[in-house]
Symmetry: C2
DNA sequence: ATCATTTCTTAATCAAGATTAAGTTTTTTA
DNA sequence: TAAAAAACTTAATCTTGATTAAGAAATGAT
């Protein structure tokens, strides 16, 4: 499948793969298209796959006690997204993963992933690097949440990812940045 | 050095090491004792090492614009702590790492780490797993910050890590949990 | 093109937690 | 063991952002 080449390209930005390794990898993954609002994972299910977003946008969210969605992560082009806790333990997940736009996804299930780690040593390095970046990004995000006001956070995000902001509804941005849609409206109202 | 055995033991909770690999690893690491309030890293320096806490407690913090410390992470027994951004890029760090108690540390510098990853393949897997856990913990922490009140956060932390709470000054806990020491006092005052 | 649904806005009231400031207790150091 | 420094407490006031509620605008489906 030609679409999955995007994954190979991404991996090879970090490590080299032999032709044989490329082949083994391609045989292990599952390419899938998913429509806006469809779910890859729903609360209560075991998260069986690690998902790589080739094109599009998905969100991972959790239901708050108040019954609202809290967006924990977005996944866009070239990002991996999964609930590692459920993925590793095979216990039901507390999270949901849903397409925000029609998206193209590569999925690898846990068993295949473990097998691939054994047969393709450099994949281990690739995920080490990917996870290190994800961890660092998460720590930085936490830092922004603590030490910037909601308004600063919005402006910061807005200037850092202006094109992404265009792609998602505002109430999702609010959910991701940790405040209410009403407050986001208020901030935007101020400007003009 | 017998103290460094704790690191080997920790690694072998996740992957197997041959005697030869153990030896190579031990030759690459640096054991060091550090007194309370001494720094492993100070803002502006390049973070040259990844630190493993054998015994004791360190904190990683960043100076807020208001001139206060925001604690980003604690490192206790069997935790790795470093600023991966600075460590990888060799650019000056924005963070500080300081001992909260007299501590015993194993340090590995970047160059050695890269060499060890090449000579000990299972080390790659070990760090992949470690980073996956760190990432997951960070995501969960973010979730708690968003969806619990300061008071809930305190009680949650307090019941989850009662012994740890005893070890650090309260103002550090407040800094880690994202509120003021005064507010922490207020919460505690309520009880009795 | 029209109806229904989803998303966004505005404004009034409210609450959690910050700030300030002063005083008390505990720990460290000489 | 006394003085100094660090850590903790209390209380009054203030601010940011939540909540509620209603209406307007945009988007999607038929």
């Amino acid at each position: 499948m030609v679409e999955v080449k995007a994954l190979l390209a991404h991996i090879q930005r970090f490590v080299a793969l032999s032709n044989e390794e490329e082949k083994v990898l391609l045989e292990g993954v599952r390419y899938q298209k998913i429509k806006r609002k469809e779910h890859l994972l729903q609360e209560g299910q075991v998260c069986t796959d690690n998902y790589f977003v080739i094109r599009g946008c998905v969100r991972m969210y959790i239901q708050t006690p108040a019954g609202e969605d809290r967006i924990v992560q977005f996944g866009i082009d070239n990002w991996w997204i999964t609930d590692y806790t459920s993925f590793d333990s095979k216990k039901p997940s507390s999270f949901n993963i849903q397409a925000v736009e029609d998206s193209e996804i590569v999925a690898i299930d846990k068993q295949t992933m473990d097998r691939l780690f054994n047969s393709i040593p450099s994949l281990e390095r690739y995920f080490r690097v990917i996870l290190q970046r994800a961890f660092t990004a998460s720590v930085m995000r936490m830092h922004y949440i603590f030490d910037q006001s909601a308004e600063e956070r919005y402006h910061h995000f807005n200037t850092s990812y202006p094109d992404f902001v265009q792609r998602v509804p505002q109430y999702m941005l609010a959910s991701y940045l940790g405040f209410t849609p009403e407050f986001l409206s208020k901030i935007r109202g101020k400007k003009s």
